[in-house]
Amino acid sequence: MATTPAVKTNHIGLSVIDYRGSKSTLCAGCGHNAISERIIDAFYEMGIEPEHVAKVSGIGCSSKTPAYFLSRAHSFNSVHGRMPAIATGAAVANHKMLYIGVSGDGDTASIGMGQFAHLMRRNLPLIYIIEDNGVYGLTKGQFSATADIGSRLKTGTINELPAIDTCALAIELGATFVARSFSGDKKQLAALLKAAIAHNGTVLLDVISPCVTFNDHEGSTKSYKFMKDHEEPLQDINFVPSFEEIDVEYEPGSGVDITLHDGSKMHLTKLEEDFNPTKRIEALTRLAEAREKNEVLTGLFYLNPGLPSFTDRLNLVDHPLGTLPQSVTRPSKEVLDGIMEEYR
């Protein structure tokens, strides 16, 4: 009699299947699918209940992806460039949930720039992922505002405008966890995502995700080949959730330990002696330097786990606002009578 092999589960007893979504309708080989896979792994490994997660997105190829992971989580696919507003309203109405937003470079850096800026400024507790391919996929291959100057479309059109660096902007505007990765870098992306889940505040994670159909050719600065040749990881990142045994290999004296709000620790192996991801100015300098050298710097650029998030600042009652009972939300007749008296 054959025994059924035990299904591998995480520490809350769920298997990875519980974190999956419906089948992707994106192009085969799309970097976005790899990101969805890493999201599934990260939430599974961190043992987050899918029902405690809410997914939000705007419009575009990237914004379709919340359908492809965590189907047990509520999701809101909104309008172009406006995911931040939906996320802000939801996070205020229910501050007990974990929010993940997926956007694209068009959805963020062009039509959604205003809302992006204000979300960063508020330090809304949200993992904001930009699936960044420098191109408009759904409308078949126009440049986005993160396309690098000098990059060329399939049609031969050259981009003559400078790229917007969403990471530098996010640091400038007030996000408290700012990182860049590459959809093909499983190890780094997984570590960053797990750290992002543990962070309280705005996480801006710009993931370079080549578009296999419109932006993966000679002349594109967001192709697989370009990224392989030009990616310069800033650190080796090992993220250790607090419920796992801490067992990390690293050279003593070469790292920076950062404790996240939930007690879990992030260990960063510095490549440069003098780089410190808790310093805004240094992060911005490194990004500017990489840009001058035409390199794509990846890793965690900036982290400030100590700052209160937007919902912390609102000083809300513990129970989510959305489901407070009438006994709490409708004041008594005596209150109304008192107010009426003021107007007599």
Binding site: A85, A117, H118, P331
Partner: protein
Amino acid sequence: MASIDVALKQGTDSRQHREPVVNNFSIQVATVNGSGSQSANSVLLRTIFLMGVPVSGKNLFPSNIAGLPTWFTIRVSKDGYVARKRDPEILVAMNPESAADDVRALKPGSVVVFDEPLKLDALRDDLEFFSVPFDKLAGPVAPEPKLKKLLRNMVYTGVLAHLLRLEMPEMETAISKQFSGKKRATEVNVAAARVGYEYAVANFERSRFMVERMNENANKIIIDGNAAAAMGALFGGVTVVPWYPITPSSSLVESLMDLLKEHRVDAEGRATFAVVQAEDELAAIGMVLGANWAGARAMTATSGPGISLMAEFTGLGYYAEIPAVIWDVQRVGPSTGLPTRTAQGDLLSTAFLSHGDTKHPMLLPGSVTECFEFGMTAFDLAERLQTPVFVMSDLDIGMNNWVSDPFPYPEAPLDRGKVLSKEDLDRLGSFARYKDVDGDGIGYRTLPGTEHPNAAWFARGSGHNEKAQYSERPEDYVNNLDRLNHKWETARRIVPGPVLEHSAKGAKIGIIAFGSSHWAVLESLDELKQQGVEADYLRLRAYPFNAAVAEFIAAHERVYVIEQNRDAQMLQLIKMDIAAEEVVKLRSVLHYNGHPLEAQAVTESIVLQEAK
């Protein structure tokens, strides 16, 4: 012949000019914007209110912080008319810039109180002039020179107290109320009012216009519609308020913030609400939808330009079926228009806001009491119907002061609509978000955070089937759109129905009006009656209309639709809803100069059209 007529008429006029006028006149105070006359005008209004006499006040102010002319009108009416009156009988002329024009516009026999240096008495000899040296009087009572400018205004309240026989003790009570009982401010302002009063006693006979005590205001309150709406939201259990400041809606949210801070903080000082000042109106409505999706009673308040910016998100709310409450305190458009003037010009653009087949319920508050009531029930409707609901107030209702009965405490509990809990799902197993289970076109929803593996559904603006799954199948799309239309029929039944405000036996004429026009229409009905025109009056309270509107039109030969816009927007909405042969009965009375509607304009237009 003609010359004798003229002579006779003049004779009649001059006799009339000596007759006393009791509790039936209007005061116009002309000042410079930013000179602090608002307090003095509120004190005047409240003094008359405290004397038990029906009174209303309207602030006609420019879009400006300081420097431009501004007028405040106070109407005293023993008959209880509160609409704006076209011609004032009393002018207080404090503004050199507008004074001469203001004086020239007066009817013969009117009274002018003016600042002495303006020498207005030289302009006309058919008015009664009272010259007051405001600076000289205010100087000695001002504790510091910079207060003199403000106290000049309080001096005219004292002058008017003598001229119009206002009771000084009531005026002092009104001053104390105005300055929230603050001792020092009250003392200084009372002193200024007294200086004016004593100067007038010493120098002037009383005018023939007088306020005589009545008992019409027992237990009543004075309030503006925006504050009333804020109170409604408070007692409607609002929890999330994203907003972007815009005249004339800002004071609604500012009032609400004050109320929430006072009444919705728990013993540990933690809030049961959140107010978020958004980066623009797009973000404000987006946050409202996000919060409602997550279960909150979220609302925003805006005006026309904000409504325009909310178009795309409103369509998402309609199609993804997310509740939302949006107050539109209407001002004059198009574009920037006249930001501080009143209108009802956003009806068509709001009813169909967004692209594709969309339509939205609109509530039409006609009084401060309805601002309070709809402030609560708009949430019930939005959650019951799972759709954005607009409340179409306007600057006149929203920002002007109205005397009202106190607001009744709500009897009905909050209606949170069709929301499935974990326990429901344990019982049901699963659900289909957009399936019409009950035959009213409204599906059941779950909220994020519901602890059940089958609770989640995918909210989206893209095509979807009953299970909220992405679908481009033609039958799914049609099924959805038809169900939404069925839901619209449910809305028709449950939104506030129209009110038959007045009915005259055998009247062939019907009047349809709504919102702030109501008060002018009530007065106009009496004027029309005097001219031999009897009319029934139906006041709309919401869109979509129920059957009573079509029945009212069917029961009359001609129906005048009165509204404050150029394009007869409400008439257009009604047209879409009635039988083709009924459309010819509809006629328009349109008013769109930015000032609150006055009865005379309604009466004149109807009399003229009836004569055709």
